[in-house]
Symmetry: C2
Subunit: 355 residues, 2 copies
Amino acid sequence: MSIEDKQRPQRTDRVTIRTVAAHAGVSVAAVSKVMRNAYGVSDALRARVTDAIEALAYRPSRAARGLRGRSFTIGVLLIDIRNPFLPEVIAGVNGVLAPSHYQAMIGVSDARVQLETSLIESMIDYKMDGLILVAPRLPSEILAKFAVQIPIVAVGYHDASATAFDTVNADDQRGAEIAVEALLACGYRDIEMLSLGERQGHAVSVVRQREIGFRRAMQRGGLGSSPAISKIPIASPKREEAMRKFLSRKDRPRAVFCWSDLDAITLLSLAMEMGVRVPDDLAVIGYDNSPTAALGLVNLASIDQSGRELGQVATRALISRIEGRTASEHIFQIPSLVSRNSLTRSGSGTDMKQG
Amino acid sequence: MSIEDKQRPQRTDRVTIRTVAAHAGVSVAAVSKVMRNAYGVSDALRARVTDAIEALAYRPSRAARGLRGRSFTIGVLLIDIRNPFLPEVIAGVNGVLAPSHYQAMIGVSDARVQLETSLIESMIDYKMDGLILVAPRLPSEILAKFAVQIPIVAVGYHDASATAFDTVNADDQRGAEIAVEALLACGYRDIEMLSLGERQGHAVSVVRQREIGFRRAMQRGGLGSSPAISKIPIASPKREEAMRKFLSRKDRPRAVFCWSDLDAITLLSLAMEMGVRVPDDLAVIGYDNSPTAALGLVNLASIDQSGRELGQVATRALISRIEGRTASEHIFQIPSLVSRNSLTRSGSGTDMKQG
């Protein structure tokens, strides 16, 4: 390929939402309605607009940015891409967007506040229509400032007093309570929580909420007001070291509630290696009901918060905000326990909804 | 929050790369060098430019788009977000970008060609500096057309004759050969491949390459020129049905090579459920050496193509293209086998490099 070929082609074929509307013989509002898959669009209108879009090879994300209109792109910010909970959220987002003309672009902050800020700013600069922030690290006041510039829905971020943005959460306190109640129902009294070490546990975080729920349920069960919570470092190899130490403790509890399947699954693996029988020596409940937990080989009881549903609900909330809603909404979903062999040998796959 | 508050603030504080250069008392080229973490930047220069960036609260992705310069954003396109191989690629990309001022934005195409096209077009419109396409579905001619507009590196896409873009691949033919050679070395002769059903297997795809390598190694082992390859549907529940059928076949082979850990791990789980002992009744080798394969509970022998390294290499290639390279590069990495209990009871965790 020669140097000449590398030059960008001139763009003179600027097709806008107006061109599409004119071609289809309908209003701009009608085209917009079809594109965002709004309610009350007739099949005939949809066919007409879709035909025009195809005939003109209309690309909304390109054209719209030239006008004052929508870009039909939403930004999604993930804290991490390896937690198996997060792909489920994305699947929920994409599922809602698929029949519309919206698309999602994802940034991964790796839990770095500076990168998180920079990605949010870029998404605003790109004139994306709105943002879904999953477990952001930034404080609520900063998110509120960004929310003046762009509609925001935060997922896995507990701040029900926010007025500038929406939040969508599973009730993480209730999830932890359900785990403790299930362990109590199995007759366990000697229960500990494995939580997240380091500074991940700020007040709005899901981890902190699960700790609150754990304490409350233990207290309600008559097991004291300050039950044991062990903090596990987030990074290898210290993480595995801490778990081995936990498993070889003489005063190891009889049952454990892990803040995340990520840790619970590693714990099950190390327990097998070290000859600690699950559930006979140690009962384990995780959190997230990840695909790996459901594997017959793993068989981990886990709190299901349905990441896919959170993604769907957040996307619908964001679209309603993009379409003009300004009053904030704070949506809670009730999690449930999926009982499996790590809790009780008879419990395989039973969904014990305890909402 | 009132309606007035929702209005976007005026932006009059346009800080550009030139402002930064002036503030630091250096050239624009020097600022650019620091920002992309180029070689040969002195600590003093780096400190000076970084101080200026911080003092001015310079946001490159915003300012640069107003000029003819760089946006310091690269686009990454994933075919799917649930395959555990893909987060590793992203980790590799982010690892290389972290010390620079580049950031990545990710689109997920869900293997839909239309969405893939739309995301690529948006990334071009957003004036991103370059694209990493992971296992794209579009044909090479179309990618070549996009490559005229933006630097492109394709990962997991076998087209070494492409002149308009780079490719970075593990040698998937060799990976499959290594799997067969390991099975032959363990004494197995009755070997089958579980491959991907449906139309995923186009010529440039990793699946197709693995099939070629499987056939070649089987033939070389004297096991005929058309060894058995079973195609497993990609979507549940047909996928599990096909695997159950495979496991209950009377003429079930003694050993199986799975195109991906995704399928191999499900196969192991179903085998346990159905009383098929691994490796005694059935030896299994997967592909990708995913984190789940390495779990003691799963213990799946697997071909390791190091997604993280592929992500790193692709990012470096893309940056060199952004910086002006026009001759295409086609990079191959040699995969290796990580032997575990699903292959042989003594093989736990041994890395049998057979490059």
